[in-house]
Symmetry: C3
Subunit: 196 residues, 3 copies
């Protein structure tokens, strides 16, 4: 399944398939994204932690739906702001890689810690043309993606779930449950469902 | 359990809890750390390998206890030098992330290879305020933390232990034993205990 | 087993063993490599995606055997070009770390995705002098090393094999098989052997 977003901007007319190193996206979209990357680099990437309102404003200019209480660090990298939604008191830490070819949604009070990777894109390994496949990532309220963890395409992180440091999630995570390891496995329930 | 260091500099007076995106540390400490980060960036981060004595001197100025034979690369990142102790002939490779909110201690001849992560901080997932928890990391003599491995809060790496590339240690590692995987599991004894 | 290349440039005359933080390679080789690192940094590291022919030309000047249809991104890091061979329509994505102390060979149509790590070097943990051990990595035709995966020294990635995101391969991967996890384990066959 491909996302509607990807269907719109994918370079389906081009003869250059990914298998042959061709561009996946249209020239128009690539120029738009280049503009975004340059804007973030020049205006936001180097800004210190307290300039958060400025970064939120910049993200909104490019179409992100970000609550005013959300926190995002300058060293975080958003692939495409229009595919990002962050609820109240959410947080995206230093060096987070948000590769949101499809939508990435952070529920209220959810936290993505330093250098975590939210990866919505993959390739269909069973298709000879190796096409891009992109699936949305949804992180529900009060969940915590710990340092350097990896969330794969299409993963639903349930309310209050914890993905431990360096853990790798390829499937849905159950609510109020702690997962560790690569691949991620549940180790125990989290006490705290009562304060959701 | 929180470390004594964290207790001293934690912003316990503030109303802004981590759960609400508030600062964890006092303003005074954050300014001190900003000074350190700027100093390392300007004076050391770009220096080539042979300028090691200069980097050791700079770390000592900020309170690190580093032996003169210790080796630390410019691209390594020390969160707070006063929480770092490195014994003789220890080594911290390129891109190492030493997130030492609590003490990090490297015993003689221990090696931390490129892009490894020594992470002393986590959060109490069972507390609704989600407070910072920091626990010291101790790496004993002759141990080797290989490339891109991860050592979590409170971990004791036993003498001569080896944590393989990309392995993730959340518990104590037995002496002269080789661990791989995420989570790290022992695979065999290391021959060499006799030369400790 | 050490590679022939490493035997040639290893600083075997020096008294400074790796265990004592000494340099592993000869001064002459280190200066040659410094030239390469500076050249890539000044001339290629910042170049956008479409300047691919320029980067391929630069790699060839330093001895890499790279097909003209190969794609390599500016943010990729090649340790030593003379140890690199890339076949037709191969690809090395953004942020790939190719630590090729020994040869790294990419077969036709093979893909190495963003921030993957091809690591040919390790240390002999059973030798008290802790010498560098380097073993070649061979990635056969149509294989895919996905984002942030890790391929260790001496690994042969079979034709059409897939190493999933963040997976860690320390042993040979069977052809047309999909591996995930750390350590990497096979999960199923890949459909597509027929289009090889």
């Amino acid at each position: 399944m491909r996302s509607r977003f990807a269907d719109t901007v994918l370079d389906t007319a081009g003869e250059q398939l990914p298998r042959f190193g061709g561009a996946t996206f249209t020239l128009r979209f690539r120029l738009m994204r280049l503009t975004w990357v340059i804007c973030w680099f020049v205006l936001a990437a180097w800004t210190p932690s307290p300039c958060n309102h400025w970064r939120v404003w910049l993200l909104r200019c490019f179409g992100a739906r970000v609550h005013s209480t959300a926190v995002i660090r300058g060293s975080a990298r958003i692939w495409w702001p229009a595919n990002l939604a962050m609820g109240q008191h959410t947080s995206m830490g230093p060096g987070v890689l948000c590769y949101n070819v499809a939508d990435v949604t952070l529920g209220d009070f959810s936290i993505v810690s330093q250098r975590a990777h939210l990866c919505t894109g993959t390739h269909d390994v069973d298709d000879k043309d190796f096409p891009l496949v992109s699936l949305p990532i949804t992180i529900q309220a009060n969940a915590w993606i710990a340092a350097e963890a990896f969330v794969g395409p299409g993963v639903l992180v349930g309310e209050g779930a914890v993905l431990g440091a360096r853990a790798v999630a390829a499937r849905a995570l159950a609510p109020w449950t702690i997962y560790v390891g690569n691949p991620a496995k549940p180790i125990r329930r989290r006490r705290g469902g009562e304060f959701a």
